[in-house]
C-alpha cells in the first residue's frame, strides 16, 4: 500500500500563484476525482505535480511514501511512481512510442525483453490501430488515439499513482469506455494497484470510472470533498456556487 500525499501545495506560472494551498491524500487502488470549473487551476495542479517547464511549486510538499517529489527532476518524479496523462499529449517527431518506453524501462532498471509483445497486447485491449506503437509519439494521431496512447504508456509503465488530466476530452463513447476500463483494471489488478487522481470538468468520465472520493476545486484549492454522490450533485447545480473570478488562467 502506497500513499500519495499533497500538503499545503502552492504554486503556479511565472510568479502567478494559481494553487493556493492544496491538500489531498490518495492511496493505492483509490480513485479520486478533482472537479471544477474552467480556470480553477485543475490543470495547473497536474503540471506543478509533474514539474512541467514554466510551472513551479512555491510552498508545500508532495510525497509518495514519504519521498519528496518537489525539487526532483521530472524523470525522477516519474521513477518515484508518478505518471501524468496529459490533456493534450505532446508530439515528439521521429521518436517511436516503443523506443521511448524501452528507454523508460531501462532507466527504471526493468526488463524490456517482452516489451513489444506487451505493447501489442495493450494496444489490442485499448482498440488501437496496429502499428501505432511503432509510429512517432503522438504525431498525426487523433485526439482519441492520443488518449489511448497515453493509457497504453500508463499500462506499460505501471506507476504507483497517475494524474489523468481530462482523460475524456477528445474521446468518443467507445474509446472512453476502453480507456476507462483499462484504468479501472490497473486500479484493481495492478501491481502495485494504481491510485488515480482524475481531473475532469464533466461528470461524463465518472460514469465510466468509479471514484472513491470527489473534490471540488475552485480558485486554486479544494473547497469541498465528498463521496461519488457529490459528482451527481455538481451535475445538477453546476459550478455556479464555486465560480471564481473570470480572467483567470485556462483550465
Amino acid at each position: 500500500m502506497s500513499l500519495f500525499s499533497i500538503k499545503g501545495l502552492r504554486g503556479g506560472v511565472a510568479g502567478h500563484e494559481l494553487l493556493k494551498g492544496v491538500d489531498l491524500e490518495l492511496r493505492s487502488g483509490e480513485l479520486h476525482a478533482v472537479m471544477g470549473p474552467n480556470g480553477s487551476g485543475k490543470s495547473t495542479l497536474a503540471h506543478v505535480l509533474m514539474g512541467r517547464p514554466g510551472y513551479e511549486a512555491t510552498a508545500g510538499s508532495v510525497t509518495i511514501d514519504g519521498v519528496e517529489l518537489l525539487g526532483l527532476p521530472v524523470d525522477e518524479r516519474a521513477r518515484a511512481g508518478l505518471f501524468l496523462g496529459l490533456q493534450y499529449p505532446i508530439e515528439v517527431p521521429g521518436v517511436p512510442v516503443v523506443e521511448a518506453l524501452r528507454e523508460a524501462l531501462v532507466a527504471s532498471g526493468r526488463p524490456t525483453i517482452s516489451l513489444a509483445e506487451e505493447m501489442e497486447a495493450e494496444a489490442t485491449r485499448l482498440g488501437m490501430a496496429p502499428g501505432l506503437v511503432n509510429r512517432p509519439m503522438n504525431v498525426d494521431l487523433s485526439g482519441g488515439e492520443k488518449k489511448r496512447n497515453e493509457t497504453l504508456q500508463l499500462a506499460i509503465l505501471r506507476p504507483r499513482f497517475a494524474v489523468l488530466d481530462e482523460l475524456d476530452s477528445g474521446l468518443d463513447v467507445d474509446a472512453l469506455r476502453q480507456v476507462s476500463r483499462r484504468v479501472e483494471e490497473a486500479r484493481r489488478d495492478g501491481e502495485p494497484a494504481l491510485g488515480v487522481l482524475a481531473i475532469t470538468h464533466y461528470r461524463r468520465l465518472l460514469r465510466e470510472l468509479r471514484p472513491d472520493a470527489v473534490h471540488v476545486f475552485s480558485e486554486g484549492r479544494i473547497v469541498r470533498s465528498g463521496g461519488p454522490e457529490l459528482a451527481s450533485e455538481l451535475e445538477e447545480t453546476g459550478y455556479v456556487a464555486y465560480r471564481n473570478e473570470p480572467g483567470d488562467e485556462g483550465s
Binding site: 509533474m50 514539474g51 527532476p73 524523470d75 505532446i90 515528439v92 517527431p93 521521429g94 523508460a104 509503465l157
Partner: protein
C-alpha cells in the same frame, strides 16, 4: 598573366597590406604548379584557362553575400600546397575502418571507384554494367569526359555563380571520376565512390590541398544510384571537391555524399546539377566532419516536369562550421524542387545556411519548397539561416521555412515524465529530429549515416546534459 600583381589587382577593394598577405599565402598555388599536373591535353588547357581567370579574380571575403558568416577570412592558404605526385601504384592500400564500413554497408554494388588524394586509384565496374555501355573511368581516359566536364557548371549563367575558389578548384583539378550511363540503362545496384584524402596525414599545422572531381551523366530514361564517401586524415588538409550531375530527360539519379572528413580539414565544395524534362534528381548530403565544411549546391531544373529532391543532414560540435549555400533554379514549366536541410550544433560549432529559390521567366506552374532547421544544443553554438527568393514568373508556388532553436522543452518534459532521464530524452529527440531525413536517405547509405550520426549524437547529447 599569372603574376602575383595580377592575382590581386589594385582595383580590388582590399587594402594593399591585405593583398600582399594573401599573395604570400597563395604562393604555392602557382601557374607552374597548375601546369605541372598531367592528364589529357583538354584537361591541361582547361586548367591553364582557369588559372588565368583565378589570377584575374579577387579572393572572396566575408563581405560578399555568398561568403557571409563563413570562415573564408580565417583560411590561411599558406598552410597548404597542391598535392603533386600521384599516389604510388602497387598493392591496394589498407582502407580506413570507416571506409571499409561504408563499402560493407552498401552491400551489393554495380561498381566501385577508389580515389586517393583526389585521383582515381582503382576503378572496378561490374561486367553487366559495362556490357550495357555504362562507363566508370578516369576523366583522362573516358571518351566523353572532355565534352561532359564543365557542362553542368556552364549551365548556370548568373554572374555571381562563379568565384575565385571555383577557378582555383578548376585550375588544380585532379583527374576526376566520370560515370556515364547510356539512354535507357537502369542499374539496380549502386555505384560506390570512395575518396581518401591525406588519410595518413597527421601534421595539423600544414598540409596538402586536394581537388577531387566527380562527374555523373545520365542519358535519357536511364537510372542509377551513386553513393560517395569523403574521408580525410586528422592533419591540416584543404579539399575543394567538385561534383557535376547531369540527369537527362526522364532519367533518375539518386546521389548521396557522406562527408566524414578529419577535424582539421577545410572543405570548399561545389555541387552543380541539372535535370532535364521529367528527370528526377535526389541528392543527399550528410555533413559530419571537417573543421570548416562548406558545400555550395546549385540545382537547375531546365526541362518541363523535372524535379529535384535536395536533402542534407549536418552535425557539428567542437569548433566545427558547416556552411551550406543552395540555389534552386527553375527554368522550365511544371518543375518541382523540394529542399530539406536539417542540422544540429553543439559545443562552439556553427552552422550557416543561405538558400535562394530562383524562378526564371517561363517556369509556369513550378513549385519550390525550402526548409532549413537547426537545433542549437549549447550556449556557445550558433546557427544562421537565411532564405531568399528571386521570382521572375507569376504562376509559381514557393514556400520556405527556417528555424533556429534549442531542443523543444515540452518534448523533453514529455519524455522525462515517462521516467526517461533528460540526457536520454535529448538523444531520443535529436535522433527523432533526423529521422524524417534519414527515412528519405538512400537505403544503401542509410545505415551508415544513421550509425555515424548516432555515435555523434551521443557525444552531443552528453554535452547538452
Amino acid at each position: 598573366m599569372a603574376g602575383a600583381s595580377g592575382l590581386f589587382p589594385r582595383s580590388s577593394r582590399r587594402s594593399w597590406h591585405a593583398l600582399s598577405r594573401l599573395e604570400r599565402q597563395a604562393a604555392a598555388f602557382s601557374a607552374e604548379a597548375s601546369q605541372a599536373l598531367g592528364g589529357a591535353s583538354w584537361q591541361r588547357d582547361r586548367r591553364r584557362a582557369a588559372f588565368d581567370r583565378y589570377a584575374a579574380s579577387s579572393w572572396p571575403g566575408p563581405d560578399e553575400e555568398a561568403w557571409r558568416y563563413s570562415r573564408i577570412d580565417q583560411l590561411d592558404l599558406s598552410r597548404f600546397e597542391p598535392s603533386g605526385s600521384p599516389a604510388p601504384k602497387g598493392a591496394l592500400p589498407l582502407l580506413p575502418a570507416l571506409a571499409h564500413a561504408f563499402v560493407d554497408r552498401v552491400g551489393e554494388r554495380a561498381g566501385l571507384a577508389l580515389t586517393i588524394d583526389g585521383r582515381p586509384y582503382e576503378i572496378d565496374l561490374a561486367e553487366e554494367a559495362s556490357r550495357s555501355g555504362v562507363q566508370l573511368a578516369r576523366a583522362s581516359s573516358h571518351p566523353e569526359a572532355a565534352e561532359l566536364s564543365g557542362r553542368a557548371r556552364a549551365s548556370f549563367t548568373a554572374p555571381d555563380s562563379i568565384d575565385a575558389t571555383d577557378e582555383l578548384a578548376e585550375a588544380f583539378s585532379s583527374d576526376g571520376t566520370v560515370l556515364s550511363v547510356p539512354a535507357g540503362v537502369a542499374l539496380s545496384a549502386p555505384i560506390v565512390i570512395v575518396n581518401l584524402l591525406g588519410a595518413d596525414h597527421q601534421d595539423t599545422s600544414s598540409g596538402p590541398a586536394f581537388f577531387p572531381r566527380t562527374l555523373v551523366s545520365l542519358g535519357e530514361g536511364s537510372s542509377v544510384t551513386v553513393v560517395e564517401l569523403y574521408f580525410s586524415g586528422d592533419g591540416a588538409i584543404l579539399v575543394l571537391p567538385v561534383t557535376e550531375l547531369e540527369v537527362g530527360p526522364a532519367a533518375r539519379l539518386s546521389y548521396s555524399a557522406v562527408q566524414q572528413l578529419g577535424r582539421a580539414t577545410w572543405q570548399i565544395g561545389r555541387n552543380w546539377s541539372r535535370a532535364g524534362r521529367d528527370a528526377h534528381l535526389k541528392s543527399f548530403t550528410a555533413s559530419l566532419g571537417g573543421h570548416y565544411a562548406r558545400t555550395r549546391t546549385d540545382s537547375r531544373l531546365e526541362g518541363r516536369g523535372g524535379s529535384a529532391e535536395l536533402l542534407a543532414a549536418y552535425l557539428g560540435d567542437g569548433d566545427q562550421m558547416h556552411d551550406f549555400r543552395t540555389l534552386q533554379e527553375h527554368d522550365a514549366p511544371s518543375t518541382t524542387s523540394d529542399l530539406v536541410f536539417k542540422g544540429a550544433v553543439g559545443g562552439r560549432a556553427r552552422a550557416v545556411y543561405t538558400g535562394l529559390i530562383r524562378m526564371r521567366r517561363g517556369a509556369r506552374g513550378a513549385n519550390a519548397f525550402q526548409t532549413n532547421r537547426n537545433l542549437v544544443l549549447s550556449q556557445g553554438a550558433s546557427a544562421y539561416s537565411v532564405p531568399n527568393l528571386d521570382i521572375e514568373e507569376n504562376d509559381v508556388r514557393c514556400s520556405h521555412a527556417s528555424a533556429v532553436g534549442p531542443i523543444d522543452s515540452e518534448q523533453r518534459f514529455y519524455l522525462q515524465s515517462r521516467g526517461i532521464p533528460a540526457e536520454v530524452a535529448e538523444r531520443l529527440i535529436l535522433l527523432g529530429y533526423f529521422e524524417e531525413l534519414l527515412g528519405r536517405a538512400e537505403p544503401a547509405v542509410r545505415d551508415h549515416i544513421a550509425a555515424a550520426a548516432r555515435s555523434r549524437l551521443h557525444a552531443l547529447a552528453e554535452v547538452v546534459a
